[in-house]
């Protein structure tokens, strides 16, 4: 058995490394990683210091900017702008009606169409969204959960119509329904029926889309909803374990799907706590996957994650200061070894970002990536007494929470997560933590620059923000109405009938029926309503 440094060296030597001067600005040469012979190393189990031996020497993180607003044609323009200015992956924000599986002409959609993201009703919109973008050469992330299977089906249908086979598609579906009940609250079906759709997408992508990440297990929303860092870490990984158990129950071998699970964490303003959180996440995941779930391939144990800076940390007051907050948070993500990053724009406490503010947010990442040299050395904070102690503390707090969830599920993390949702346990803890933080702020124990202190400058006029008019809503309704006129109604009905029939039989994978329905130009709302007819709808009992 070789020691950890030798294992690391072997893996590093096998990695492709970017052609660059790995030295400080003053010419001091830099090793790819520092640490004692027998210590932890990146790319070596339990991966506390990074999933890969070479980390950013092989490839910087993906600068993945989340975008979407108005109609598909508007968002397609923004996508092209992002690709032109050096972004290398797309990330699609859908509007609220789409997130809830409603069509733009649904009465509940009034005032929300195209507002927080792009409106997608049918395959025609999906075609506009990715028009003149080669889906085989970039990766695409789609932030969608309750209707994730429907949007994946439409995406596959659109790509194949454009000549890109599904096996060539690279990207990520958020598809993390558990955190919807816990935190973000964009749910449609009851938890167990939703989990069947998650199972279907995981099985489908494992079999047919080898480059596709089937679930992005997301702590981001849990944190934004008010949890602590330790709760974000623990709830997210617990949800991850639940999906692993779900797929295993469906008969998939763990190493067949686990390599396509990825994570999504928040980067909040407490710099070191965030870095410790990412390091603890990698170590916990590796150990649980190996010891509890019997994973054998490295990829199954290597936690890879996307980071987004904290929306809740932004202030409406003196919004330019948000650029600084975002830079610090982004740096935490990078020093914590993130695989991709979205930086929020300075105006997002007020509205969706303007093109200019979104560009500054991307430039923030580019400064970190290309000017600071922090990318030369993997896990530069590893070995810091403080960061190591904080990493251990994060891990032990998470383990306490896992024990509670495991107990709620009588030895099953999958059951524990569903029971915890049904009993309002996750929701209650998140609301309690949010209120604790609010009270600390109101007691003056926490400072927010420009809000609780240092107010000079607040009297200036607010910056101009992106305006989305109701004209987009009207345009989108007209678009939907014309698509409905042009389609073959009998074919739509046949496709929906088959979907209903497949939905009744829990053994059947719903993806083929959804792809066929997409190709018949069935709407998102029609497909979701058809499934709701079989699955029912989830209603949350309101609690304060």
């Amino acid at each position: 058995m070789t020691n950890p440094r030798e294992q690391w060296q072997k893996a590093f030597d096998a990695s492709k490394v970017r052609d660059e001067q790995y030295q400080t600005m003053s010419g001091i040469p830099l090793e790819p990683v520092y640490g004692p012979e027998d210590g932890d190393f990146p790319g070596v189990y339990p991966y506390t210091r990074g999933p890969y031996a070479s980390m950013y020497r092989s490839k910087l993180w993906t600068m993945r900017m989340f975008a979407g607003f108005g109609t598909a044609i508007d968002t397609n323009q923004r996508f092209k702008e992002i690709l032109k200015s050096g972004g290398d992956g797309l990330s699609t924000a859908f509007d609220m009606p789409t997130l809830l599986g409603l069509d733009s002409d649904d009465p509940m959609s009034l005032g929300e169409v195209g507002r927080c993201g792009v409106a997608i009703d049918t395959l025609a919109d999906m075609s506009d969204l990715f028009s003149d973008i080669d889906l085989g050469s970039i990766t695409t992330s789609m932030t969608i959960n309750s209707p994730a299977a429907v949007l994946l089906a439409m995406f596959v249908a659109q790509a194949e119509n454009a000549g890109v086979p599904r096996a060539k598609l690279g990207g990520t579906l958020q598809n993390d329904i558990l955190k919807e009940y816990q935190a973000q609250k964009e749910f449609v079906f009851p938890p167990r029926q939703s989990m069947r759709l998650v199972r279907d997408t995981v099985a489908f992508t494992a079999a047919e889309m080898p480059r596709w990440n089937s679930i992005s297990i997301s702590g981001y929303h849990i944190r934004e909803a008010g949890s602590t860092a330790a709760e974000e870490l623990a709830f997210t990984l617990a949800n991850g374990f639940a999906y692993v158990e779900l797929a295993r129950q469906a008969g998939l071998p763990v190493d067949a799907f686990a390599p396509r699970l990825s994570f999504f964490f928040n980067a909040h303003i407490d710099f070191f706590e965030e870095i410790a959180k990412y390091r603890a996440a990698r170590r916990i995941w590796a150990r649980w996957m190996k010891e509890r779930y019997g994973a054998t391939t490295e990829r199954s144990m290597q936690l890879r994650f996307h980071t987004q800076t904290a929306g809740v940390s932004l202030t409406a007051q003196q919004p330019e200061v948000n650029i600084v907050r975002t830079a610090i948070e982004a740096l935490a993500g990078v020093l914590g070894g993130t695989q991709s990053l979205h930086t929020n724009s300075m105006d997002e406490a007020l509205a969706l970002p303007t093109e200019r503010s979104a560009r500054i947010a991307l430039r923030t990442q580019q400064v970190i990536g290309y000017e600071t040299n922090v990318t030369h050395v993997a896990d530069p904070l590893g070995g810091s007494y403080f960061v190591e102690a904080l990493t251990d503390e994060m891990e032990s707090r998470a383990e306490e929470i896992f024990a509670k969830i495991d107990e709620m599920g009588h030895g099953s993390m999958l059951e524990g997560c569903i029971v915890g949702i049904d009993e309002n346990w996750f929701q209650g803890r998140i609301a309690d933590s949010a209120y604790d933080l609010e009270r600390a702020f109101n007691r003056g124990e926490r400072t927010i620059v420009g809000v609780s202190k240092f107010l000079e400058g607040n009297e200036e006029d607010q910056m101009d923000t992106l305006k989305i008019t109701n004209a987009d809503e009207k345009k989108q309704r007209e678009r939907l109405s014309s698509v409905k006129q042009d389609r073959n109604e009998a074919a739509v009905q046949d496709a929906l009938d088959r979907l209903a029939k497949d939905a009744v039989d829990t053994e059947v994978n719903l993806m083929p029926a959804l792809i066929d329905a997409s190709n018949a130009y069935a709407t998102v709302g029609e497909m979701m309503n058809t499934m709701a007819g079989v699955f029912g709808r989830h209603v949350e009992v309101p609690t304060i």
Partner: protein
């Protein structure tokens, strides 16, 4: 209608499709801790369901938490739905509302608007002010 500040009744509501409920829950607890009785009707309400609940519960103020940008469409509809029931319960909005929208919202009959970062005492004061002004 109740004008005694110690026993105000407030309905807090999420109208439309926005599921972000951190703000509404924090505000509900803040108001409750300030001695105000709070009723929360849960997610995905329409202007009609909010107005009906406000009248049924005989509240002094309706508080809307809005983060999705739909406030310009939905908040005036809540005011109209309440008035259509022959009462004039004041409506307060909190959330992601840029200053440039304030004048139009006031013109549509919104009593108070609380932007991002409004501190607890300002939230409580705005609710009490809305109730007191309506009682005059």
């Amino acid at each position: 209608m109740n004008t005694d500040n110690t026993s105000l009744r407030v309905l807090v509501a999420k109208v439309g499709l926005d599921g972000h409920d951190r703000g509404v829950k924090v505000v509900a607890r803040l108001l409750r801790d300030a001695g105000i009785e709070v009723i929360y009707t849960g997610l995905f309400q329409t202007p009609e369901t909010v107005a009906a609940a406000a009248v049924d519960e005989d509240v002094d103020v309706v508080g809307l938490s809005m983060l999705s940008g739909a406030h310009m469409t939905l908040a005036p509809l809540v005011v109209a739905a309440i008035r259509a029931r022959g009462v004039d319960i004041p409506v307060v909005i909190g959330g992601i509302v840029p200053n440039s929208d304030v004048a139009e919202l006031k013109a549509a009959g919104i009593a108070e608007i609380l932007g991002p970062g409004a501190p607890a005492d300002e939230v409580v004061a705005a609710v009490r002010r809305a109730a007191a002004n309506a009682a005059v």
